[in-house]
């Protein structure tokens, strides 16, 4: 009996030891992944799994922001940007051993553009009605012809994970560095190293270096940070400034500030003509002088310093400096000057008397800013804006609403005066935000779904956005979009406030992490991440 017990203990110890010796990267998903089908990915968690498991023809290098060959060794654009021909990599196999051929690419693209599938990934490819024509030229050569030219076409394939046409495992057979080995709903997703992954490191060793990735599902940020401080997880992909600030004091070696991120925080005034707000307020909100005055009265530097503990940059316009190609560096930085603000207001007949600003009809200037409840940084920004605008005699009421109510007000009933929200920018190309800039767009928040542009400058933005979308000349596109940024910085339909920095938590035992601004900021080069052998005992 004793012998059996001792044997069991030894067996258990050896198994535990084997498990501990695995190079297993651990981090948290903040919600349940909704799907493992790459074509249907729409949420962050599913996107994480897709990125770690999916093999793509072209990968956008997150550091250089340039497309690089992956499963396609080369590609060629022709036919005025409508056709793309891929030369595929040979000898590649899926995680289950099924060979990768042009048939798999055709199968993936057919499924992706099938209207019945409703793939969010396919939206980027739809420049015009009609389905693309996909022709297999050889087992390693395929051509895809779209009904119309698609700007930045090659970069769009970064989102298209190739699915096997013949594997019995279908989308669970992976071409990426890992494959889904186990999934326990509500608990974790366990990814194992793809034994057939094609990529090799500098020394010729097959990648990835890691044996497994364990993605625990945990929505609570507090728990995430606590587990990180206890070395139970190795990465935090995006961290709030509050946590970052605390961690940088207690464990400076475990946090990284990668500089401005892609996302923007902005406020805007409701300019919808049919909005249920007083006509005189609508007149204020439509006045460029009024919007410029409000912008000048806001201290963006204080927002960066106080709300984000210095881990943010004052925004100049709609594009973050993190977007290297599309950012217009010629835009002047927004100036904080209450005197300029009052001069601009006086041009429109506003008067400051006894600390209160009134319009030319004698109405006291007062409006509300809505923002989403529970978002501490936005609540703080709104409170600081409230104090800044008080200095020019404007009374601001800060209203925090639950998200569904907020969306209903800004998107359906238009029953609001000003809003403070952020925009998450996943893609670099301005075509991804056409819906925001076109006056007919649903996301043209200050006055959406216009039949004809309400102002000459909106008509000009429409023209420039359409021009750049139809052009394949990157220089010409950039010129057009630079002009859009200039118009936006002058007219201020959105008053851009800050670009939050990309703040990461990275365990010192993890090597090869190169933080970048674009998603996934910490593990975009996951196949090259490895654990430091010297410090392995600390956190593995």
């Amino acid at each position: 009996m004793v012998r059996r017990f001792v044997f069991c203990c030894l067996l258990l110890m050896s198994l535990t030891g084997a498990a501990m010796s695995l190079d297993e990267l651990r981090f948290y998903l903040r919600s349940e992944p909704k799907t493992f089908n790459p074509a249907l990915v729409a949420d962050d968690s599913s996107e994480t799994v897709r990125y770690l498991t999916g093999g793509v023809l072209v990968r956008l290098n997150r550091q250089t922001q340039q497309p690089e060959p992956e499963l396609a060794v080369s590609w060629k654009l022709s036919n005025g940007g409508r056709t793309i021909t891929f030369q595929l990599r040979q000898g590649v196999r899926f995680s289950d051993g099924t060979p990768f051929t042009a048939r798999d690419v055709k199968y993936t693209m057919d499924a992706l553009v099938d209207p019945a599938v409703h793939s969010p990934t396919a939206d980027s490819f739809r420049s015009q009605q009609g389905t693309p024509r996909i022709v297999i030229l050889a087992s390693d050569r395929i051509t895809i012809t779209f009904p119309a030219a698609v700007a930045g076409l090659d970069k769009l394939f970064d989102q298209v994970a190739i699915v096997s046409a013949s594997s019995p495992k279908r989308e669970m057979a992976a071409l990426g560095p890992f494959y889904v080995a186990e999934y326990k709903p509500g608990s974790y997703v366990y990814l194992r190293r793809n034994p057939n992954y094609w990529k090799r490191g500098e020394s010729g060793r097959q990648l990835p270096y890691l044996d497994a990735v364990r993605l625990e599902i945990q929505a609570n940020r507090d728990i995430e940070v606590l587990k990180f401080t206890r070395n139970e997880i190795h990465l935090i992909n995006a961290m709030d400034a509050d946590y970052f600030d605390k961690l940088s004091r207690s464990s400076p070696g475990k946090v990284r500030d990668a500089g401005p991120g892609m996302d923007t925080e902005q406020m805007w005034f409701n300019q919808v003509p049919s909005a249920p707000i007083a006509a005189y307020k609508l007149d204020w909100f439509r006045s460029r002088n009024f919007r410029q005055a409000v912008s000048a009265a806001i201290s963006r530097d204080d927002l960066c310093r106080v709300v984000f503990a210095g881990h943010a940059t004052a925004a100049r316009g709609p594009v973050s400096p993190a977007n290297k190609f599309w950012f217009n560096a010629n835009l002047p930085p927004a100036r904080h000057d209450t005197q300029i603000a009052l001069q601009l207001l006086s041009k429109d007949g506003f008067r400051l008397k006894d600390g209160r600003l009134t319009d030319r009809s004698g109405h006291p200037v007062e409006f509300s800013i809505v923002t989403n409840a529970g978002n501490r940084s936005r609540e703080r920004m709104a409170t600081m804006i409230q104090a800044d605008l008080r200095s020019i005699g404007i009374t601001v009421n800060v209203v925090t609403l639950d998200f569904p109510s907020l969306l209903e007000r800004i998107g359906e009933t238009f029953n609001y005066e000003a809003a403070l929200l952020g925009m998450t920018n996943v893609e670099l190309d301005p075509n991804a935000v056409m819906n925001v800039w076109l006056s007919s767009g649903d996301e043209h928040q200050w006055n959406p779904r216009q039949k004809t542009p309400a102002s000459p400058w909106e008509a000009e933005i429409d023209r420039l956005m359409r021009t750049q979308a139809a052009s394949l000349d990157e220089k010409a596109r950039k010129q057009s979009f630079d002009r859009v940024q200039e118009i936006v910085a002058t007219e201020l339909p959105f008053i851009y406030l800050v670009n939050k920095n990309t703040l990461l938590g990275v365990s010192p035992v993890l090597q090869g992490v190169v933080p970048v601004a674009t998603r996934p900021q910490a593990y975009w080069n996951v196949e090259r991440l490895r654990f430091s052998k010297e410090m392995a005992g600390d956190a593995k």
């Binding site: 507090d222 501490r376 709104a382």
Partner: protein, 267 residues
């Protein structure tokens, strides 16, 4: 027990006095943002330090306590009036009225009040001043919080309906209205008072819950709830001793009120 009661009364009175007097002093400006000195530790300039926007924590605590201590009892009083109308009156009257009241109370207790509050809050006009928004928040709590005291009052009123002194009074021909106002109501008073003292801390905590969701009293006005909301993250409050003052005051206040309420019930 007497010493505990006296301590509780003294503590509650002290908190009320300090919040009322302190919040009126000009040096305690609750919305002044010292942006060069945010998230500061306690100092001679800021006794409890400053919050994330550089506002003096002591000033915000004094004002927040005043807001909560003025509005929570008002909301509790509103609740008691409703509880008396929907609990005590039908309980004493009996018959169909009592049955309808019971259904109504059960209905009230089964409503997920948090969602109802969220809904009502979303329907409110946006341009309400912080004072009005605070009043509305507590008024909503008062309007929705009468279920439990109504059930207690209904049970007590029903028991009084069968009491000998009530039966005797009815036998000599006293009208129901006079019976209720002169004989029953004074007997219900200890129950009402006990329920009132229970409701006050409940409403303070309910407002704290709403503030944690960002739906309590609007900025820049503080309340005990919004001050508690600053402690949302365990890591962010680590080493930040000033932010513990609000829960301490709330604890002392609620504890004192509970002792007073218990005393009322016993008496």
């Amino acid at each position: 027990m007497k010493a505990v009661r006296i301590t509780a009364v003294v503590l509650a009175s002290l908190i009320v006095m300090l919040s009322l007097v302190g919040s009126l002093l000009p040096q305690f400006d609750y919305c002044l943002q010292d942006r060069q000195n945010f998230s500061a530790q306690p100092s001679p300039q800021h006794w409890l330090g400053t919050d994330a926007l550089g506002r003096d924590r002591l000033a915000r605590l004094l004002h927040g306590t005043r807001v909560s201590l003025l509005l929570a009892p008002a909301a509790a009083a509103l609740s008691m009036v409703l509880a008396f109308l929907f609990g005590a009156v039908p309980g004493f009257a009996g018959g169909a009225g009592e049955r309808i009241a019971k259904v109504l109370i059960d209905l009230m207790l089964s409503i997920p009040w948090l969602f109802l509050l969220l809904m009502v809050r979303a329907l409110l006009p946006l341009n309400t001043s912080p004072v009005v928004s605070a009043t509305i928040t507590f008024a909503m709590l008062g309007l929705l919080g009468w279920g439990v005291p109504a059930r207690v009052m209904l049970a007590r009123a029903r028991a009084l309906r069968e009491a000998e002194f009530v039966l005797s009074a009815r036998a000599v021909g006293i009208s129901r209205a006079r019976l209720l106002s002169v004989h029953v109501a004074p007997n219900l008073l200890p129950v009402v008072a006990a329920q009132f003292w229970i409701a006050v801390p409940v409403f303070i905590l309910a407002e704290a819950n709403l503030s944690l969701l960002g739906l309590g009293v609007s900025e820049p006005m503080p309340s005990l709830g919004s001050l508690l909301a600053e402690m949302e993250g365990l890591l962010t409050v680590r080493g930040d001793f000033g932010c513990f003052a609000a829960p301490l005051v709330l604890l002392l206040m609620v504890g004192s009120l509970q002792v007073v309420a218990y005393d009322w019930e016993v008496s």
